[in-house]
Amino acid sequence: MTTLLLLALTAFGAGQKDYVPVDAETIERAEIPGVPPGPPPPAGQVDAIAHEISDKLRCPVCQGLSVADSNASTAVNMNNHVRALVAKGYTEADIREFFIDTYGEWIVLDPEPQGLDMFIWLGPGLVAGLGIIWAVSTVVQWRKEPDDELPSQRGDAPLDPFEQQLLAQLDAEIESDRPTGST
C-alpha cells in the first residue's frame, strides 16, 4: 500500500505544476524582449485584465480551450505568465503580439481581421443580412400572389361541406392510383 502511495505521489507530482503565486520577483522578471512595459495597472485590476487576455489565448495542449478556462499545467503556467506581464505594465496589444510572435497565429482564438480572415469577421453578418433580404423579399412576393388555400392545408380549422367533398374527391383520385388488390 505504501509503495503504491509513493508511486502515485511521484506519478502525479511528475505530471503537474506546483502552483507558483505570482509574486513580486516573478513580476520583476517577466518581460517581453525588446518591448518596454508601460505603467503598472491599479492593484485590484490585474486579475480582471489578465483574464480578458487569457480568454483569447488558446491553450497549446488543449482542443480549443482558452488559457483562462483550461486547468492543464501549460495553461496554468501561461495564465501566471500573462498575469505577471500585466502586473508589470504591458498592454493587451503587447502581450497578444508577444504570444503570436512566439507561438504563431494559431495561439489566439480570434484571428486578426486582415486579408483572408476578413471573411470570418464580416461573413456571418453578410449572410445574416442576406437572410433578412430573402425573408423580406419572400414576404413581399407572398403579398402579391395570394396562395390557394387548399382544404388539406388548413390545419386546425374545421372543413365545410364543400371542402369535405373536395377532400373526398382527392382521396378517391389517390385511391385510384393504387395498384389493384392492395389495402
Binding site: Y19, D117, P124, A128, V139, P146, S152, P158, D171, D177
Partner: protein
Amino acid sequence: MFGGGPVSTLGGVLVLLSLLFATVGCGLGFFAGYRKDPQLYRWAQSAAYGFSASMIGANLLMVYALINHDFSVRYVAEVGSRSTPLYFTIVSLWASLNGSILFWGGILGIYTAGVTWHLGNKHREYAPYVLHVQLGIAIFFAFLVASIANPFAPVFPVPPDGPGPNPLLQNHWLMAVHPPMLYLGYVGMSVPFSMICASLLAGRLEAGWMAPVRRWMLIPWSFLSVGIVLGGWWSYAVLGWGGAWAWDPVENASFHPWLTGTAFVHSAMVLERRGRLRDWTLLLGMSTFLLTLVGTFMTRSGVFNSVHSFTQSDIGPVFLVFIGITLTYSLLLLTFRAHKLDEAAALTDARLGAKAKKSTSVFSRETAILIQNGLFGAFTFTVLIGTLWPLIVEAVEGRRISVGEPYFDKWALPIGLGIVFMMGVGPMLPWGRQNADKALKRALPAAAFGILVAGGFAAAGFQGPISVLTLFVTGFAFWANANEILDPARKRMSTHSEGLGTALRKVLLRGRRRFGGHVAHYGVLMAVFALALTKGYRVEQDFPVEKGQTVQFQGFDIRFDGAEMVQEPHRSALVSTFEVSKDGSLIGTKVPRMNFYKTQREPIYTPDVHSRPWGDLYFSIISVPGDGSSAVVRLIWQPFQVWLWLSAPMVFLGTLICLWPERRRASASSAASAPAAAGQVAPGSAK
C-alpha cells in the same frame, strides 16, 4: 472473419447478413415503388426487418462478448478489461471507433424497423422509396462494419486482459447516456431524409405526407437536443473547467443538424398550412441528415483535434466518399425532381376547380417563421464556416490559425437574441393575416412582462446591458407562449362556463401540437436564460489553501480539510475535502478529485458542484502538491446554471406532447368520413 472463436464467427455472419438484407432490400424498395408492386414491397419490408434484426443482434452479441471478457474478439481486446466495472464495460460498446460504428448500425436498425412498421400499408406511393433510401444508407454502414471497421475480427493469440476503455469515459455515469442520446438523434435524421427523397423519387408531395415527415424529424430532433445538453453537462461536471460549451469542432458538428432541424420543423408548418416554402423545407430536411454525416466525419476522421477524435483511422476516406455520393444524390434529386412536385400540385389544383384565395400579410406567423428561418440559416452558416475556417485557410494560404470562442460568441449572441425574439413573435401572430394594430396590441403585454423580468433581475444585481436585453427578450417570448394557452382557456371559461382547470385541459388536448411546441419553447428559453446569466455573471478565483484554512468566496465560507489517496479497481484518486458553510451553518461537503489512470500522464480532474436553483458553487482542483496538506482550488460561482440542464427534459417533454397519438375521434361529417380519416389530415388532429 472466420476462423476465430464462436463470437467472432457469429458476429461476422450477422454483419454480413445485415449487409445482404440491406442490399437486397434497397433494390426491392426501388422497384416496388417504381412498378407500384405490392408483392415487391412486402419483400422489401421483410428485408428491412431482416437488416434490423441482424444489426441489433450483432450489437447484443458484442455486449455479450464485452461482459464475458471474450478477448478473442478484436474490439473486446481493444477496450475490454477485467478491472472495469460492469456498468462501464457495457458502455464501452461505444467507447472506441469500431464499436461506435457498430452502435450506429444498431440504432439505424431500430429506426429502420420503426419506420417500416409505422408506414405499414399506408402511404403506398412513398413507402417503398422510403425503404429504398433508408436501406441504401444501411448498405454503407453495414459495409463499414463488415469490412474496415470490423469489431468482430478474431484476435490470435488471445490476450489475457485488455487496456479498458478510455479513462475519460469512465469518469462519469453521463458517458453512458450522452452518446446513445446523440446517436438516437444523429442516426434518426436518416428517416426524414429517406422520406423526403421518397417524395422526390415518387414525384409527389401531398400535405398528408408532410405530417409523418415532420413527426419523424421531431423524434430524432428531441434526442439530439437532449444529447447536446447532456454533452454540455458532461463538459461541466467532468472536465473541470467550469464551462458547458467550448465551440469545439465536434460540439459544433452536433449543433449544425440541430439548427437546420429546428428550422425545418418550423418551415414544414408553413408548407403544411399554406403550401409555401416547399423547396426550402425539403432542402432543410435533407441538409439535416447531410450535416449529420459531415459531423460524424469530422468527429471520427481525426481531421480535427478534439476530445472526441479517435486516432486517424481508415474509415475517414470511405466516409468522405459516402458523403460525396449522398450530397450529389440529394442535389440531383432536388434539381431534377422538384419540378415533378410542381406538376403534381398543379394537377391537384386543376381537379379542385374553384379555390379560395387569401393573401399573406406582413404580420402573420408565416412571416415570423420566415425571418426565424433566415436567422437559423445564418446561424448554421456562422458555426459551419467558423469550424471549417482553419482548414480553409490552411488549404489556401498554408497558415495555421484558430477560430474559437471569441468569434462564435460574437455572432451567436445577436443571432440567438433575434431567434428568441421571433420565438415570442411567432406564437403571437395568426396564420394568414393580421393587421398592424391588433398585432401590436398583443405584443404590448408581452413586452411589458419582458421589461418586468429584465428590471427585476437588474434590481437583483444583473445589470449588464447584454443580460438586460436577453432577459427582456426571454420574458417577452415566455409571456407570448404562455398567453397562447391562457387566452383561449380564458375564452372557454366565459363561453363554456368552465373552470380554469377544465378549460386549460380542453385547450391543451385540442391543441396538442401547439402546446407541445410552446413547452419546447419554454425549454429553449430556460437554456437561453441560464446561458445569459452564467456567462455574464460568472465569478472565478483561484485560492491556494492550507489544511484547516478557511477562505471566503461569494458569501460562502470554505474550509479545506486536506487531501488523501483513494484506491479504486480501475484508478487511484486524490480526493480533496472542502466544507462549505454559509452564515455559520454547514451546508455541504465537496470532494473534487484528481483521478490517475495507468494509461494517462496527466490526471483527469473531476470537479464537485454545490448546486442550487439560483446558482452553482463549483470546485475544481488546480494542484495538490506533495502530501495533501495544501492545495490550489479554483472556485467558480455560476448563477442559475441548473436551468441549462433542466431545459433538456423540458424540450423532450414538449416533443412528446406534440407526438402523442390522438384518440381517433368520430368525425361529424357525412360522406367524407371514411376516406378522410384514413391517413389524411383530419380537422383538429393535424400532426
